[in-house]
Symmetry: C2
Subunit: 423 residues, 2 copies
C-alpha cells in the first residue's frame, strides 16, 4: 500500500495554501507529517487528519463572511482568498424549527438541518468544495471520484465551474437518470463493468499511478473530510451560537458524524460556544448496519457486511470511520440504531407531510431512526434535538413511488369535484 499519492507529486505550495492548517496527524499513532497529498500514516497505515493552529476567531468575523461555508474559512484547510476561486458556494443551508414533526414524534424541541438545498442537492457539495481547494493548491490536473450518486454530482458540477477536467467513475449498471445527473456536468463519465467496490478499487489504483489526479475521497481525503465540519458550525451559529443537546446523524463511512463532533469541540475550544454536554446519535439502515450492530453488541470493532438496502448513499459495508463513530456515540451518551427499508420509506413521507422537506433515503433513515430512538427511550424527548437531512428526494424518487399518488381521479367538472369528497 502506498502511503502517499505519487500522483500528486508535491509542487511548490504557496504560502497560506491551507490557511490555519499546520500538519497532518495520524489518528491512530499520532505521528505527524507535513501538509501534502497524503492520506495514510507512513508508520502504521492509520488515517491522517488535519491539525490546525487557530488564531483568536470571533463570532463577528464569521458573521461578516459570505452566506456559504467560506464564512468558516479560518477553520478549514483553505487559503484566505478562497472566495476568489470559482466554486459552487455551498452551505449555510436552512435550519428549520420542526414543530410538526416534533409533535408527531413526541419531541419538545426539534430542528432539521436541511442540506437538500445545496447546489447539487446534498451535503457532498461541502466536502467537495474543500477537496477542490486542495486539488487547486496541489496543482492537480484532474478532479475525480468513484461514486454512485451524490458525490458524482458534486464533483462533476464543482469541477465544471472551477474549469478543471473532471472524470467520474460509476458502476455501468447505474440507472439512466442517475447517469444523466452527472453526465450533464462532465464529458468524462466513465462506466465501469463492476460493482461499487470494483469502481473504488480502480480509483485507488489510478490515484497511485497517474500524475496530477486528485480523487476527492482517496488521495485528498483529509482535506475533503474537513468540509463536513461546516454542518456543525452552521447548526451552532444558526441556533444563536449554542450547541444542541442531542444530534442525529446518518452513518455511511462515519466521516460526517466524526467531523460534526470535531466541529463542536473546536467551537468550544475557541470559546465560540459555551462548553456543555451533548449526545451524538448515529443512523443506519438495517440492510447496512455494521456500526449499529457493533453498538448494540458492545463490540469495539465493526464487522464488515454486504449492503442490501434502498439507502444506497449510506451503503458502505466496511465503514472507514466506524470505530470512531462507536467511540463518539458511547462517550457522549448517544446511541446508534437502524431501521428497515419500509421504515425509511415511511419516514420520507412523514418528513414531507409534516415539514415540506422531501428527503432522499439517507434522510429517511435519519428521521426514521430519530423516531425509533424516541420510542426506545434512548433519546430524551425533552431536550433540544437536531436531525440532519443530507440530500434531496428527487434523487431517490423510486423509494416512494409506490407509497404516494393521487387521492382521486375526476372528470374536469365542478360536479365531479364535489362528488369526490375532497372538498
Amino acid at each position: 500500500m502506498s502511503t502517499s499519492a505519487p500522483s500528486l507529486a508535491a509542487p511548490a505550495l504557496r504560502e497560506g495554501a491551507f490557511g490555519n492548517a499546520v500538519e497532518l496527524v495520524c489518528r491512530e499513532c499520532g505521528t505527524t507529517r507535513e501538509l501534502g497529498p497524503h492520506y495514510v500514516c507512513a508508520e502504521c497505515f492509520g488515517p491522517l487528519e488535519i491539525r490546525y493552529d487557530f488564531p483568536a476567531i470571533t463570532r463577528e468575523q464569521i458573521a461578516a463572511g459570505p452566506n456559504n461555508i467560506w464564512r468558516y474559512k479560518a477553520l478549514l484547510p483553505v487559503p484566505d482568498d478562497i472566495e476568489l476561486s470559482p466554486n459552487l458556494e455551498p452551505g449555510f443551508t436552512r435550519l428549520l424549527k420542526a414543530d410538526n414533526l416534533a409533535a408527531e414524534l413526541g419531541l419538545k424541541n426539534l430542528w432539521v438541518k436541511d442540506d437538500s438545498t445545496n447546489p447539487t442537492n446534498s451535503f457532498k457539495d461541502r466536502v467537495v468544495a474543500c477537496a477542490l481547494s486542495a486539488a487547486r493548491e496541489f496543482g492537480s490536473k484532474v478532479f475525480a471520484c468513484p461514486s454512485t450518486g451524490n458525490l458524482a454530482n458534486a464533483v462533476a458540477a464543482a469541477g465544471a465551474r472551477a474549469g478543471i477536467k473532471t472524470v467520474v467513475f460509476i458502476p455501468s449498471n447505474l440507472e439512466t437518470p442517475k447517469q444523466v445527473n452527472s453526465a450533464v456536468y462532465t464529458e468524462n463519465l466513465v462506466a465501469v463493468d463492476g460493482n461499487y467496490d470494483d469502481v473504488n478499487k480502480l480509483a485507488s489504483e489510478i490515484a497511485g499511478e497517474q500524475d496530477g489526479w486528485a480523487f476527492v475521497n482517496v488521495n485528498v481525503r483529509p482535506f475533503y473530510a474537513e468540509g463536513s465540519k461546516t454542518l456543525g458550525y452552521e447548526i451552532a451559529e444558526q441556533l444563536g451560537w449554542r450547541l444542541p443537546d442531542q444530534i442525529v446523524i446518518p452513518v455511511a463511512s462515519g466521516s460526517q458524524l466524526t467531523k460534526v463532533h470535531k466541529s463542536f469541540k473546536e467551537l468550544i475550544a475557541l470559546g465560540l460556544v459555551e462548553d456543555k454536554p451533548y449526545k451524538v446519535f448515529g443512523a443506519q439502515a438495517t440492510g447496512c448496519s455494521p456500526v449499529s450492530e457493533a453498538f448494540r453488541e458492545g463490540w469495539d470493532v465493526v464487522r464488515p457486511v454486504r449492503p442490501d438496502t434502498i439507502a444506497k448513499s449510506l451503503a458502505i459495508g466496511n465503514p472507514a470511520d466506524g470505530v470512531y463513530v462507536l467511540d463518539i456515540c458511547r462517550e457522549t451518551g448517544g446511541a446508534i440504531a437502524d431501521i428497515s427499508d419500509d421504515e425509511v420509506r415511511d419516514a420520507i413521507v412523514l418528513l414531507a407531510r409534516t415539514e415540506g422537506i422531501f428527503t432522499e433515503t439517507a434522510g429517511g433513515t435519519t428521521v426514521g431512526v430519530l423516531k425509533k430512538l424516541v420510542e426506545t427511550g434512548q433519546l430524551d424527548p425533552e431536550l433540544e434535538t437536531v436531525v440532519i437531512n443530507t440530500g434531496h428526494g428527487l434523487k431517490t424518487l423510486d423509494a416512494v413511488t409506490d407509497l404516494v399518488g393521487p387521492a382521486a381521479t375526476i372528470a374536469p367538472t365542478y360536479e365531479a369535484f364535489v362528488a369526490s369528497g375532497i372538498a
Copy 2:
C-alpha cells in the same frame, strides 16, 4: 365573471396583516379597492395590483434580516411577524459570477441568479410563501392550485409545513415522477381528466364556489405575484446595492418579468440603489412564443397560441401579463426573443458544463435566448448582465437524457482505463 372571490368571504383582518400594503389598484383603469381576496377590477375587469405606502427603509435594516425573502418583508404584503409563521423560508439564493459562460458567449460581465436551490427547487417558493401569508391572514381553510409542476411542488410543500390543508390539481396524464414530487407532500393530489386549461378552469370554478379556498394563482394572485419582486431585490443587494445594466428573464405568464422591473423601480424610489437605466429582456421557447412574436412584429397585443415545447413551465399560450412585458422591454430598450427546443437542450448542457448549474428547460430557454441576443447584437456584451435560472434540471431530466451519457464503458482494470484514452 365574478370580480371577487366569495370563497374568501372577508373575516376581520388583523391590524398590519399586509404590512405596508394599503390597497389594491387596477392596472388598467386605476380604480382602487380595499385589500382583500380580490383579483379583478370591479369596473373594467383589469388585473388588481398591490399599492404600498413605504416608510423610509435602509440597507442596514434589510441586511439585519434573515437569510431568506423575509429580509424584504417591509416591501411585501405580509405582516411584520411573518418569520414566526411556519413557512419554507425560501430565497436569498446564490448570485454566481459566471465567467466561464460569459467567455463562451462573448460577454464581459455575467451573473446567474440561481433559484434552483430554493426549498422545492424553483422560484415558485417565493410567490407561494407570499400567497400562504395572505391565505393565513384571510383565514383560509384550504391552500390550493392547478399546476403541472413547480407550482404544485411549492404549494404542497409550503402547505404541509404551515399545517394547512392542501389540494393540488393536476392533469391526469402527468408523468408519474412529477406526480410523486407533489404527492409526497400532500394527501390531496387530485388528477383531472383533461389538459392544463381544463384543470385551470375547474380551479377558477371551485375558487368561486367554495368557502375558504385560497387558490394561490387565482383568488390570492395579487399577493402571490408580489413574491417575484424578491428576485430583483436580491440581485440588487447581492451586486452590492446596484442594478445590473441588462437582465434576461423567462416569460410564461409574464408576471415574473413585470415584478422584477417593479422591484427595481421601488429600490430606486426608496433610494436604496442609484437611479440608472437598465434593459429588460424576455425569453421564450419558440413552441410557445406569443410575446416574442408580438415584439418582433411590432404588435401592441399578444395573440394566443397553442403551446408545443419541451419548456412546459413556460408553456402559457395566452399570457396574462404579455402586454405589460412588451411595454417594459420596449420602454427600457430591451427585447424579447425565442429559441427552438434543441437550442433549449443545448443551453441546459452549456450551463451545466460551464458553471456547474443544472437547470430545467425554463432556464435552458433563458440561457439560450441570452446567447441568441448576443449573436443578434440586441444585447450589449460589454455591459453587466444578469440571467435568471428559475428551476432545477432534476425536474426535467428527460430533456437531456439523449444528449449526455458515459464517454466510455470499461472493464474494472487499470489497463482498460489506460486503453480508454480518458487519462
